[in-house]
């Protein structure tokens, strides 16, 4: 071959550059490897990663407030939180429209539940108020129908409101509904607000449009044939109270001009109080500035509130402050979880190391029998094992009975081994022990017994030989076992739940509580995210200190 003098790229047999054909060959191999793992990858992504990500996303998600009360949230921006005063009439007018829509869509209770996480009492405030908004509307509807029966008629409203040029408003309100109930409000409404009405009666037009969309699409009615809901009358009341509107109505001569002018003339028959007072009459908490602080603070679409709650802080009008003493819970729980996990890991090392050593040094046949004993717990249901511990540990349980019978413990002073930290530590040490023994065993198995002999022949006593020669070589096994046990125990749920009582529960029990009982998924997600971050940080620290290359699960 004479291509040693050739300065160009090395060529493959078929004349293409060697690099290119190598890359082609490697790519084919990679594709084959990818095809092999594709089913599992797809499964994991679809059923595990995506749900987890969406769950974690809930920890910052807060759309419900602005989706349910878009007008109120926009109006409240001008109100200064923390002044000790509830907002003014305008905000309450928006609140009436938003909350009326929400209660028709049955969304106001969800919002109440959400805000109730931040301030107790808001749930019932929203629930009861939502029911009584119709009444406020009726205080306008009744007198208006007195003034002119035409206000009762569907075609009167339709001919007055329908027109052209209001497509923008229609789409805007349609988006509002879609955001509120999560879509499905698309389709023909059979109504377009007239631009003249938008200018003259903005509240009324908005409320009528809201109703029209709801009636046409959700109730599948014909807009022109139905009487609007009470909110429209309330909204007309808002418009009529505006002095400029009264002037505009006087100059108006389109459909319904006569009736509107009659209404203006008889303003004294309409309620004389504003919506602020109406809400206050309904429930005086609506004038509580704290309620409005909470709504204002939690109005953005994303919030750090869940995370702050998860570390015993809270978001308030004054910024981030500590939770009141009696509501501080999570830092203590995190600390307890970490501390107990450490204790469990430590006791697993203490108990598991000698067993692993024995397993690694006994003749194979005996070791196999012992190994079965170690693995036996794996083959028993976790719930059964934990329940068995309940039987053993309780005050009238097996352990106490034996101790009393042996005379170690007085009958009156039986040991409290359950429903506290002791119980959790004992049961979890037992349950997680195999996860310590197995990696330890597989590492110890690879340590040649001749090292110990060598050390002894060099003059080391049994202890020195063990400590300076054997132990350092078994550290990778301790590392692997500790990581396994620690990470498993930090997120453990069933065992602390059953034997932990109140003192011995972990953060995961609190997460489960928020997932299944209080339904505060945002907080659960925040707690879970923090737990995940703590584990990752610890893993990183471990890698820095011990080195992850030193972790051996075998071989």
């Amino acid at each position: 071959m004479s291509d040693s003098t050739d300065t160009g790229p090395v060529l493959a047999a078929d004349g293409s550059p060697l690099k290119q054909s190598l890359a082609r060959a490697l790519r084919r191999e990679k594709m084959r490897a990818l095809a092999l793992i594709a089913p599992l990858l797809l499964f994991v992504v679809l059923t595990f990663i995506i749900p987890i990500l969406s769950m974690l996303f809930r920890s910052v998600e807060n759309q419900i407030v602005s989706d349910t009360m878009p007008g109120t949230v926009a109006a409240i921006q001008d109100w200064e939180a923390g002044t000790g005063e509830a907002p003014d009439e305008l905000v309450f007018q928006h609140l009436f429209i938003d909350l009326f829509n929400a209660s028709e869509a049955k969304e106001h209770t969800k919002l109440g539940t959400r805000l109730n996480y931040e301030q107790t009492g808001l749930s019932s405030l929203f629930r009861t108020s939502g029911r009584r908004l119709d009444d406020i509307g009726e205080t306008y509807q009744d007198p208006l129908e007195e003034i002119d029966p035409a206000f009762e008629e569907a075609d009167f409203w339709y001919s007055m409101m329908n027109g052209e040029g209001g497509e923008g408003l229609l789409e805007e309100r349609r988006d509002m509904w879609n955001a509120q109930i999560g879509g499905g409000m698309d389709g023909d409404v059979g109504f377009v607000p007239s631009s003249a009405m938008i200018d003259m009666l903005p509240w009324t037009t908005t409320a009528y449009t809201d109703w029209a969309i709801w009636a046409a699409i959700e109730d599948e009615d014909v807009v022109a044939e139905e009487e609007p809901w009470e909110a429209v009358y309330g909204a007309l009341g808002m418009d009529l109270r505006n002095p400029e509107t009264a002037a505009a109505i006087a100059a108006y001569d389109g459909p319904g001009a006569e009736q509107l002018q009659a209404a203006v003339a008889n303003m004294d028959q309409l309620p004389q109080i504003g919506f602020r007072e109406a809400f206050a009459e309904m429930d005086e908490d609506w004038l509580d500035p704290e309620v409005w602080d909470t709504i204002a603070v939690y109005s953005p679409r994303f919030t750090s509130g869940y995370f702050l709650t998860a570390v015993d802080l809270k978001l308030s009008a004054e910024g981030v402050t500590a939770q009141p003493e009696d509501r501080q819970l999570y830092i203590k729980l995190f600390n307890r979880t970490l501390f107990m996990s450490l204790v469990i890991t430590g006791s697993c090392i203490l108990l598991g190391y000698p067993v692993a050593w024995l397993l690694a040094n006994l003749p194979l046949r005996t070791a196999n029998v012992l190994m079965i004993l170690v693995l036996l717990p794996f083959w028993t249901s976790l719930l059964v094992r934990t329940s068995a511990w309940k039987v053993l540990l309780q005050q009238q349980g097996v352990i106490n009975e034996i101790l009393v019978w042996l005379g170690f413990v007085d009958d009156a002073n039986r040991l409290i081994l359950m429903n506290n930290q002791t119980g959790t530590i004992i049961a979890m040490t037992h349950i997680l022990l195999p996860f310590m023994i197995l990696p330890l065993y597989s590492v110890m198995k690879t340590i040649d017994p001749s090292y110990l002999r060598a050390a002894k022949s060099l003059g080391a006593t049994n202890f020195v030989a063990f400590w300076r020669v054997y132990f350092p070589q078994s550290v990778p096994g301790i590392g692997a076992g500790s990581i396994l046990v620690f990470i498993l125990s930090i997120g453990y749920y069933i065992t602390p739940e059953i034997v932990g009582g109140t003192d011995g529960v972990f953060i995961s029990n609190r997460i489960a509580y928020h997932i299944s009982s209080s339904l505060n998924w945002g907080l659960a997600a925040a707690l879970g995210s923090i737990l995940l971050v703590v584990v990752l940080v610890l893993y990183w620290l471990y890698d820095r200190i011990v080195g992850i290359d030193n972790v051996k699960l075998g071989g």
């Binding site: 040649d448 001749s450 090292y451 002999r453 060598a454 050390a455 002894k456 022949s457 060099l458 003059g459 080391a460 006593t461 049994n462 020195v464 030989a465 300076r468 020669v469 350092p472 070589q473």
Partner: protein
């Protein structure tokens, strides 16, 4: 068989037995005595008990019966770490988590030696095995031969009077092994250390040792210097085990002092030297080294018996020729001849007559 206990013996085994299961003896009645400074090799097939003997000497196994003495003191009850015996293991057993210098420092530290003294000794020991620049490395960063040297240095650094080596060269390739054999022998002799060396490689045993103890079936079959072992095996096991060997079976016909006449099974008669045959009529295996077989009639003694042989195969091996013959019904009879200019190259199928000096043909136990 073995030398009896003598007063200047440094290492002594006296009637030592060892059994692991209480049913069979791995070591049966071992008697051995080594003077100070000797290089003794325990040679034998696997399972012959040689490693067990070494482990008993090191203290990792206890003798079931008998006495092991070191410098006149019984060491049966002394734990391994107090025996002060250096040991080189088959896999070297260098501590993987320590550097080379730390490995060497270990035996000195456990003896409570000061830092400066330690460093000096480590340096000297590493220089001795020409590994002076490797103190900071880890065992995994060294080649097999280098690890071997370090293991040797570690066994010697605390200046033991007795060093045990358990097949230390087994993992090395042939060339390196030969080099290390030479170096170990020199080191042992220069330092005047008493060495017990275990191997199953007879070449290694012959080239390195002052004396070789051939083990089989839990007993020392023969304990002798290499030349004696090769030239005068005392029984057929030793003859078979050491070097290449031709065996013919027959019956003792006549016994007269230093020679005897053996009638082979096919009726032919040969001369032999009686080694462990007692009387006429005994069955015997006669053993002849391939290089002592002669087919040039001129070199044979007057009146020597000869055998008919047929050449089956001629193998050219460079320095020697190796010829396979059929002799007295034995197809595996080998002769070796030097590749000299005048040497005749036998052709397969050729019929020749072979013979030997009576003292080269040893009549051993059957």
């Amino acid at each position: 068989m073995a030398d009896g206990a003598s007063n200047d013996a440094f290492v002594e085994f006296e009637r030592v037995q060892k059994s692991y299961d209480g049913e069979t003896l791995v070591v049966k009645d071992l008697n051995l005595s080594m003077p100070r400074g000797e290089f003794l090799t325990m040679l034998g097939p696997s399972g012959s008990g040689k490693t067990t003997c070494l482990m008993m000497l090191a203290g990792f196994e206890t003798a079931t019966h008998g006495d092991i003495r070191l410098g006149g003191m019984s060491i049966n009850d002394i734990p391994p770490h107090k025996r002060g015996i250096g040991m080189v293991f088959q896999n070297y057993a260098l501590f993987p988590h320590m550097t080379i210098a730390e490995n060497l420092s270990f035996p000195l530290e456990v003896r409570g030696m000061g830092k400066s003294e330690r460093e000096e000794k480590i340096k000297r020991a590493l220089d001795m095995v020409e590994m002076g620049n490797f103190g900071g490395r880890r065992p995994a960063q060294l080649s097999g031969g280098q690890q071997q040297r370090v293991a040797l240095a570690r066994a010697l650094v605390f200046e033991p009077e007795l060093v045990l080596m358990d097949e230390p060269l087994g993992a090395l390739d042939k060339q390196l092994r030969e080099k290390m054999q030479f170096e170990i022998t020199h080191l042992a002799h220069n330092l005047g250390i008493t060495t017990v060396y275990v191997t199953h490689d007879q070449t290694e045993a012959l080239t390195m040792s002052d004396r070789v103890a051939v083990f089989d079936d839990g007993r020392i079959q023969q304990l002798a210097p290499p030349d004696q072992l090769y030239e005068s095996p005392e029984n057929s096991f030793v003859a078979q085990f050491i070097g290449e060997n031709n065996t013919l079976e027959g019956t003792v016909k006549e016994l007269k002092g230093e020679t005897c006449i053996v009638e082979l099974d096919d009726g032919e008669i040969i001369d032999a030297k009686p080694v462990n045959v007692d009387k006429v009529g005994d069955r015997t295996q006669v053993s002849i080294r391939p290089e002592r077989v002669e087919y040039n009639q001129d070199r044979l003694q007057e009146g020597a018996h000869t055998l008919d042989a047929e050449v089956l195969e001629f193998i050219y091996m460079g320095d020697i020729f190796r010829t396979r013959l059929r002799v007295a019904g034995n197809d595996e009879f080998i002769i070796k001849t030097r590749n000299a200019p005048d040497q005749q190259r036998l052709q397969p199928g050729e019929k020749i007559k072979i013979g030997w000096l009576a003292e080269d043909c040893r009549a051993l136990d059957a």
